[in-house]
Symmetry: C2
Subunit: 524 residues, 2 copies
């Protein structure tokens, strides 16, 4: 299959008539065919109406049917074969192995959500049986389950053209919850988006679902994206991108006549704390692993470790020297888009121009047009504390090391951090007390706390939290990766005294779905 340059609204392929989007191969700067004429607002309204029409049926699809649909999407994506990988390589500059891995992750994620749907934990079934004899008042029969919120708008991310785009984590979890999805495709990888969109479209048809369960739209983010979030049928939004983009969607969602939740994953510099014993014992090994994580995917991960914090001294000097050498050995890598490369250059330039920051090393310049030259900087703890600008995310392979005067200053730096997706401790046995002192601060700052690992590489599982306090995300109560992501698109409904014949299956006495239930507060 080759991309046709069309949006997909339900089972239709639609060619817009607004300003045209074309992918650019960042490795060459060349525009790629086909053109994607943008849609207008009426097409957004049409997709949302179809989603609303599909909702009544889809939200009550059986657990097996819904799980089979998610599995069919995975199969259809795999069936796209190498055409998908090649198109994604051309549109993103990412290497084949990374994109093949990401495809595996995307399909694995869809299959995980299929198993989540079947297991039914997400229904959160609670039953408080009637107590007709209770004094002074009898208790009526009360039962609770979770239901789907309604149609969901998903914004594809630039940096995960498969795993956080058209059929990525937001889409998979929303579909798992029973919500139709309208995707605003990211303009940087339209061909990849269309191919994946057609795979989902085929799965919808194959599973006999109402067509409005899924649409994917191309067009201007400000125009089409805002219209999508403002559409009255849309009941929640999933977004991964810049802080500015996320804040704009949050404002639109909040200013609707009916405000809706926005799950925006925005920015994080993912602090790494080098505790003294670990730094002393294995500083150089940590330095190499750090630069390995920093360079991964040209640093274009939300979980890229952009900040290292340690107490100054000989061990930290040795760490800096080793890290600097590793940076100098780092080959330049093509970035996702000319815009991202430009922003990276600006961010690195601002650090270089800051009088309180010293440059430790730069990687070799690249030969292509949009290549990321790795960079490492250092600053003093006091200067970091005095300048909020040093917390700004530089999206790409740039790191800043904060040299603290002592452990107390390190604690103050931790306390001064904005909300983060992750916080990491590099620690040895002798660092346990220091880690205990930092942990309560880090728990308040981050959605995930790691020991002796690196934040890049986010496992898709049940215990994962890919989230965190603002501005890392718009809603710290949630995760966008892992099975708990489904709860973003659900709400509880209580049924009081309903006859068995009217109760949803999940709540019937004989538990036909065989799901875990909280009965009178006790887990069954």
């Amino acid at each position: 299959m080759t991309p046709q340059g069309t949006s997909l609204i339900g089972q239709q392929a639609i060619t817009g008539d607004q300003a045209t989007i074309r992918a650019i191969d960042p490795a060459t700067g060349e525009a790629l065919a086909p053109e994607y004429p943008g849609l207008d607002r009426s097409a957004v309204a049409q997709a949302c109406q179809l989603a609303e029409d599909a909702f009544a049926t889809y939200r009550e699809s059986s657990l097996d049917d819904r799980a089979a649909f998610l599995e069919a999407i995975a199969t259809e994506i795999e069936a796209l074969g190498d055409a998908l990988i090649e198109r994604a390589m051309a549109e993103t500059g990412l290497p084949r192995a990374r994109l093949e891995g990401e495809r595996g992750r995307t399909c694995g994620q869809l299959r995980l959500f299929a198993s989540v749907v079947r297991a039914g934990e997400w229904l959160d079934v609670r039953i408080d049986p009637a107590l007709p004899e209770r004094e002074p008042m009898p208790r009526v029969d009360l039962r609770q389950r979770h239901v789907a919120l309604g149609p969901v708008a998903v914004f594809g991310a630039s940096n995960f053209p498969l795993a956080f785009s058209v059929a990525g984590g937001d889409t998979a979890s929303a579909l798992a919850a029973g919500c139709p999805v309208v995707v605003k495709a990211h303009s940087a990888h339209p061909g990849t988006s269309e191919l994946v969109g057609r795979a989902v479209q085929a799965a919808v048809a194959q599973c006999g679902l109402p067509e409005g369960v899924f649409s994917v739209l191309f067009g201007s983010g400000k125009e089409i994206g805002q219209a999508l979030v403002a559409n009255p049928h849309i009941q929640a939004v999933g977004f991964t991108g810049s802080r500015g983009g996320g804040l704009a969607l949050m404002a639109t969602a909040q200013n609707r006549p009916q405000p809706i939740p926005v799950y925006a994953e925005m920015s994080s510099i993912n602090p790494v704390f080098l505790l003294p014993e670990a730094l002393q014992a294995r500083g150089e090994a940590i330095a190499e692993a750090f630069i390995g994580s920093l360079n991964m995917g040209a640093g274009q991960f939300c979980t890229n470790p952009g900040l290292v914090i340690a107490v100054k001294g000989e061990a930290l000097d040795a760490f800096l020297a080793a890290a600097g050498e590793a940076v100098k050995d780092s080959a330049a890598q093509t970035m996702l888009t000319p815009g991202i490369h430009g922003a990276y250059q600006d961010g690195v330039g601002a650090l270089a121009a800051n009088s309180k920051v010293r440059e430790i090393a730069r990687g070799p310049a690249g030969k292509g047009p949009h290549q990321c030259q790795s960079a490492l900087f250092a600053t003093r703890g006091a200067d970091f504390l005095a300048d909020e600008a040093l917390q700004a995310e530089v999206f790409g392979a740039s790191g800043l090391v904060v040299e603290c005067a002592d452990a107390e200053e390190m604690q103050r730096v931790a306390a001064a951090l904005e909300g983060q997706l992750t916080a990491t401790l590099q620690m040895d046995d002798g660092d346990l007390e220091a880690a205990r002192t930092l942990l309560p601060v880090l728990e308040r700052k981050a959605g995930r706390v790691l020991a002796n690992g690196w934040p890049t590489g986010v496992e898709v599982c049940h215990a994962m939290v890919h989230g965190g306090p603002f501005p890392a995300t718009s809603d710290s109560r949630t995760t966008s990766v892992g099975s708990a992501a489904i709860f973003r698109f659900l709400r509880p409904v209580c049924y009081q005294n309903l006859p068995q014949g009217l109760l949803p299956e999940a709540l019937q006495d004989n538990n036909p779905l065989d799901v875990s239930r909280l009965v009178d507060g006790k887990r069954e």
Copy 2:
């Protein structure tokens, strides 16, 4: 104990120096002693700083200690004895039996949350053990628990001076989650608020907790309330009150440098659908029960059934006649405040003046100054659909009956409703199909769906949902009554590869807290 006219900041009693608040006995119109001089913004900052200081200790208090604290609050409230009931009667005009019942509910709620804390379901423990042999990549050890959000601001409600005020559901669930609470007391019942606040204060001291775990502030809502929500230490807000008040707090919370969640329970007219067989078989009995629910507490419940929907015909005429007679037999009741009474008069006046609305009956006028005269109106389905103003909540014992042309129009009326706390079906066996048609619409409109009951009377249990789509609440994903209310004040944190000695108890291998866990996606 008698009220002293002071705010309570931590263990201190503080007398403000701003404009004074005095309770008014609504039954007589007389002002009650003592005066409550309002606080200024610096006092708000002080209470929030104390809460922040207390948070580090309190959020990690043991499950038993925290549960014992909640139980101690209940005991201390009971120890206030009749002084509390008498003060609340004077400040609210509510009868003794109602307030004694509400005290029982308040203390029962605190004890329920004690049991919820001990059971540990709220921790939502998830463990995905390391898979070192997994191909192509090993899996690291990942564990998740919920942690407290931080200090919480609670706004006391006018209509539940005990159960949704200083130590009501919001406070109990926030404290259960591990969040210190700063209460902005409702100005209509300051003496009741101070007495309950002193009971909580005593429990804090008795349990040896840091004093900042609890404060209660008196002052201007616009000044003190907005300053509280804007304070950077506050991490969530619980509010029960008007739509205007809730929207103002939502805007403040959203415009902070760090936006925070607001759980505002605002307005609901709680539609009741009379299905044909039930209406035919027992219309008069339903009419009497309806007016009984409508009049309960002078109609001053969030769940008051303000809207009845049925298909026109002889059975509905008989229902209206019976309901009208019951209204005429309804004694006038003192309302909570002069302001609430004034708003009720305005709301009833607007209905009476609407040319598409006809008055069915009014109850007898009262003799006191602020008495609610029950009222019943009717309108046609087409007129209801054409005029959004007919959906406005009239807080008090006023009901509107919508006479639909047929079942199809009844369905359209259901679909046109705003978000509600509850929706009720009056149905007999023969109405099952009609109920099945309505149910999917009602599930999207309301947090709780009832059959053959009345929405007033909200059980405090595990399956309860006291919530619902906007504008019933600001966040349909939550409930403010029942044990699930605790989740409003929690967020998940994932721990990757932490040594056992650093892991929180809830996540340690040997499960020392003996809590339910999801291990590799399976419930243990």
